[in-house]
Symmetry: C2
Subunit: 402 residues, 2 copies
């Protein structure tokens, strides 16, 4: 399959429009209200946070994903509308209804999302006042503005799109995403809104999203915190004109790979832009008893503050990687365990290996760090992406609301 990276982000696929406007939720006139719109009804699937205190908008989306149809997404940054009680639910529904009305849509076709501070009343009046402007600004090049409007502590807007072919028909998948703190699997605390002009059945889209998310947004961690507001949503409006993809189609495999690729790309962008991060760390685990065990070991290492600060300090203190593997609970064979950093083997078959610390230091100078682990306990593999932990993270998070 040939995948071509193309511009356009969440509006790259046919028939999608987007906008991002400033509704006054954030200070200094920053964009804080995003709207994504499909010119025709779309099949909709997604994944939502499993946090027991899921925000009000998340509960609205749950109902919509059950039906599997949607035509637009309204999302604000600056306020999470989480832990806001009954008023929060009223506000989330009000926000969705107002946006639906402005677009002449059935409110049941409107996804709604919020991100920002938890526990403060949603400034619903500002949002209602901003919606007409968001509708007016909808356009085929609105992806960047929408990506900006969902940013919280993100330093860069995140968008990506690809084109590939399904039985001769060009199909596009694109999306926008936001991080960048509270990032942790199941799921990564984030938004990812994806659009595609592929025609696909609802059951197949659901399977595709599940697979793509497992290998991307559920394979990243920044700080181990899971938010109340995580959402991945995919709208497929069928405008590419292909025969609707369904189970058993060769084209479905291509679609899943392309969707996974886009999600992986956006997921890595989130990690690279992790709060205070300067390094992308890939923890690659092989020789595991099962894929689940591989992931467990990888998460253990990726979640270790001592490993993250080791990378920050370019400190060849690989013993912390070993300690994190041992603590992860993943099944391993101590006599066969092998660890390498950036291709330099430091521990082999349970024995430390002599290496030049200067070489290792040089490897850690590179902004992408690869930690490879062989557990010696099987033939399965898995990986997790994370970022290093710096004083910048503390600085950002000690002052978030003040």
């Amino acid at each position: 399959m040939k995948l071509k990276s193309i511009p356009g982000g969440v509006t790259a696929a046919k028939g999608f429009r987007a906008s991002g406007v400033a509704a006054g939720i954030k200070v200094r006139g920053k964009r804080d209200l995003a709207l994504i719109y499909s010119q025709s009804p779309a099949v909709a699937a997604g994944m939502l946070t499993t946090n027991q205190l899921a925000a009000a908008p998340i509960r609205c989306c749950k109902t919509i994903f059950k039906r599997g149809k949607a035509q637009a997404i309204i999302a604000n940054s600056g306020n999470a509308n989480a832990c806001t009680g009954i008023q929060g639910m009223i506000d989330a529904q009000g926000m969705a209804q107002a946006a639906a009305k402005a677009l002449s849509l059935d409110p049941r076709m409107m996804l709604v999302a919020s991100t920002g501070v938890i526990g403060r009343p949603l400034p619903i009046r500002k949002i209602l006042e901003g919606i007409p402007s968001a509708v007016t600004h909808l356009n085929a090049h609105g992806s960047h503005a929408a990506a900006e409007a969902i940013m919280t502590t993100d330093l860069v807007p995140k968008e990506y799109a690809v084109e590939f072919s399904v039985e001769g028909a060009p199909v596009r998948i694109g999306g926008i995403a936001k991080g960048s703190g509270m990032i942790h699997p199941t799921m990564a605390t984030m938004f990812a809104f994806l659009t595609t002009d592929a025609a696909i059945t609802l059951p197949s889209l659901r399977v595709a999203v599940k697979q793509a998310v497992a290998h991307s947004f559920n394979s990243i961690t920044v700080d181990g915190d899971m938010s109340t507001n995580d959402i991945v949503a995919v709208l497929a409006n069928g405008r590419a004109g292909n025969k609707a993809l369904q189970a058993g189609d060769a084209g479905l495999g291509a679609f899943v790979r392309a969707l996974t690729h886009v999600c992986e790309h956006l997921a890595k962008m989130i990690v690279k832009d992790g709060e205070g991060a300067t390094h992308l760390i890939t923890v690659d685990v092989r020789g595991a008893h099962s894929a689940h065990e591989a992931r467990k070991a990888a998460r253990g290492v990726a979640g270790s503050l001592l490993v993250k600060t080791m990378v920050t300090g370019r400190d060849p203190n690989w013993g912390r990687v070993a300690a994190a593997i041992g603590a992860s609970g993943a099944h391993l064979n101590p006599g066969k365990l092998t660890i390498s950093l950036g291709g330099i083997t430091v521990f082999q078959h349970g024995q430390p290996v002599r290496f030049n610390p200067l070489h290792l230091k040089r490897v850690l100078d590179h902004p992408e760090t690869l930690i490879s682990i062989h557990l010696g306990a099987g033939a399965s593999q898995g990986h997790v992406w994370t970022c290093n932990l710096t004083e910048g993270y503390i600085h950002i998070n000690a002052k978030y609301t003040t």
Copy 2:
């Protein structure tokens, strides 16, 4: 029961001697070799790390705790003797044997422990050369020197002791401990060496240690990392002259409470001295379905980097506490969930409460922060102690071996 805090630490109990000398493992002539000695054989029980890559000395101690008898502990800082392969095992045994020989003990009576950098060969020659000096320096006031000799990134040595009475006989329990990074339950990454002159049967000592550790060292977390070298060891030499405590004795309850008290005190000292820490945070959970669920919620909150940095920034962003509870997986009733910080209720029965952010900021200025949570799901409770996360932690850990 009346507990009196007394000086003397690990040498407070009758018949115990200790020393701490500089063997040259650490730089600049700092103490790095500790020896604790009972003048008569003692009943020994303890708990060891569950890290699958447990260090060589941990594996030596496992055998000794199975027998339940010991008379001395030799411990070094500056090198963990973990991930050191077969040579590591030879070195750990060599260290124990040399110390036993110098004290004319059966090597099976010698506990051994190491802490420091993982994955580097133990400088066994320096240790062997240091042992005679450690033996020579053994004395009844050696607790402080021993506490210093087990420090790694700890800023202050940790020692504590109490006296209480068992059926008229004065009994003492004392100990030394070290932290201060890689601190996490099951178990906290640390050393705690405790001594008592109580007479107690091995089965009762084992039960007492398990209970005391659950409520102390297994209720603290600094950074979520579990080390390869954690050990809690308790030696009871019976010199207090009481009738040996056993199951069913009223005195055993007093002993367990006193041991728990000493362990809690040392555990809190570890957290307060957490790397870069400026605040002791107590997460107190009530209304849980079970004690296990209470602990789960408390650990979720105590482990959240966003909660820790919120305290660092004196930032009244309590939504992070809610998000961490929701993410913890602990069973809760969202409509009854209540959260207060330093006695100020911020979220009650699932609804945010109006409060003066300046009052909350003032509460967070206090070096001890209480986070109280009611899950509304039962009648059980639990707590976890942790510390805040500061730029100091990053600074310390980015430069640990270099």
